[in-house]
Symmetry: C2
Subunit: 286 residues, 2 copies
């Protein structure tokens, strides 16, 4: 599949890496970029991530075959509203937001009905870095991309977005919106909350400097995701509030049970918990 | 400093890597090993980690200048008791346990009074691997080793153990026993509890296979420490119970506060928490 004109709205790590991956494989002819910040657009031009900078989002999607929305999920609705009067009949619209229910709701509010050529998507990839400077063409190699097409979504549009991601080296899976949000709450949003809370708890302790200095490599890995973009995670928490709260409750109950076992010296409970976790982790990540 | 005869009691990742590091730098002439399992001793001999295998711990420490105890912290007391009648006046004894209060207590019980040549220690290094097969000479390069000498500990003995670790490339710091246990509860023991609990929570959910398959790189790093040895962590939890419970309470309260903020949509609280955490993490681990 060739893409004549691709538009990236919000040229950060995710949108920028997509542009670089498609360019590297010669899939796309011209990439137009829009960003809320002029400085980002200039940087994206300099880095060769985009070919053309467009300061107006409506103008940026003119003539686009595919338009990819890469702004934080809290900024999607206002962008949808700005795009609505300008979207052309041939333009397939997709997004890369970490939550899907909120994005579909935003589209419903902005467009009255989500357009048939809108394919909600989420590349499950990233680093703790953010911004177009961190973008690289290999980000999606062997990673998963989840698409959550709606009942009214055009099948050809879904299929084009699927092919686009596969051309970046990703494996594409489809699922329902609500299921996506539950799965991501468990495997991504909850771990981010734990890492942020742990680092913040320690940072607010008197001896925090000494503690961080003495921390081992395990701590560095465990807390890597606490270096993620605060604004983006603020948006995700509020956008996926319900599913995240369910997981936070479940986790808190399990942690309280572990705490009881430690307090009461229930060695067998501890050993079994750690062993189940180790087996599951070795099996899936080993 | 040269060590004529070094004895490692419990030849795993930590004790084995110490032997390899000292050998590589030509610091030690002969390494004697003892392990609870015959198979481990044979493996250690084959890998060149030890030069001599000794199936009896009392015999293993005969003639040793330095004896290093590397068994799990729950097994220390019974080993101390077996060593007590055999320890010679010149042998400096140290350990590598992740908790220090429990080890000092164990020494007090086994020896009546901890011997003046006993220097409690803890190399803050390791991987999620365990066993002598995982040992490597560079494990301690640029890592911290904490020593917690007691009021009665011989200063020359402390100094020899400090030099031994420095020769492995480590930076040695001294602190009090209780302070060590608090710092490690915060930066190591608590994170392990969170990682184990998260993986176990997810593993017990119906859709666990799918969830683990869809997890991104952040999840892999976050949960790496949940692949650690369950028996070792069982011992650590019970050995450092009080300090760990304090940290678990503090973390649970902070997580409950975050949960409230998500439920009530307190965006500013979320952003500030994530920002403080990111700044602290970038500063200390960046």
């Amino acid at each position: 599949m060739k893409i004549g004109r691709l538009t990236i709205l919000g040229v950060g790590l995710i949108g920028g890496s997509l542009a670089l991956a498609l360019k590297k494989r010669g899939v796309v002819e011209q990439v137009t970029g829009w960003s809320r910040r002029e400085q980002t657009l200039q940087k994206a031009l300099e880095l060769g991530v985009i070919d053309r900078a467009e300061p107006d989002p409506g103008a940026a999607v003119q003539g686009a075959e595919i338009a990819v929305i890469g702004v934080p999920v809290g900024a999607m609705e206002s962008l949808f509203r700005r795009l609505a009067p300008h979207l052309e009949a041939q333009t397939v619209l997709t997004d890369v937001g970490s939550t899907k229910g909120s994005v579909v709701e935003a589209a419903r509010r902005a467009f009255a009905e989500p357009p048939p050529l809108f394919v909600p998507g989420h590349p499950v990839a990233g680093t703790e870095q953010s911004g177009v400077e961190a973008a690289f063409a290999e980000l999606y190699q062997d990673r998963r991309v989840i698409l959550t097409p709606l009942p009214g979504t055009d099948r050809d549009a879904s299929s084009r977005i699927r092919t686009m991601w596969e051309q970046c080296g990703a494996e594409v899976v489809e699922m329902e919106v609500a299921h996506h949000d539950q799965v991501l709450a468990a495997t991504s949003h909850l771990p981010h909350m734990l890492a942020y809370t742990l680092v913040d708890s320690l940072a607010r302790m008197e001896e925090s400097e000494e503690m961080f200095r003495l921390a081992a490599g395990g701590f560095r890995d465990f807390t890597r995701i606490a270096s993620s973009d605060p604004q983006m995670w603020h948006d995700i928490c509020l956008a996926n509030r319900d599913a995240l709260l369910v997981m936070l409750e479940r986790f808190s109950a399990d942690l309280a049970r572990l705490k009881d076992a430690i307090r009461e010296g229930e060695g067998e409970h501890l050993k079994q918990t750690f062993l189940r976790a180790k087996r599951a982790r070795d099996r899936f990540c080993g």
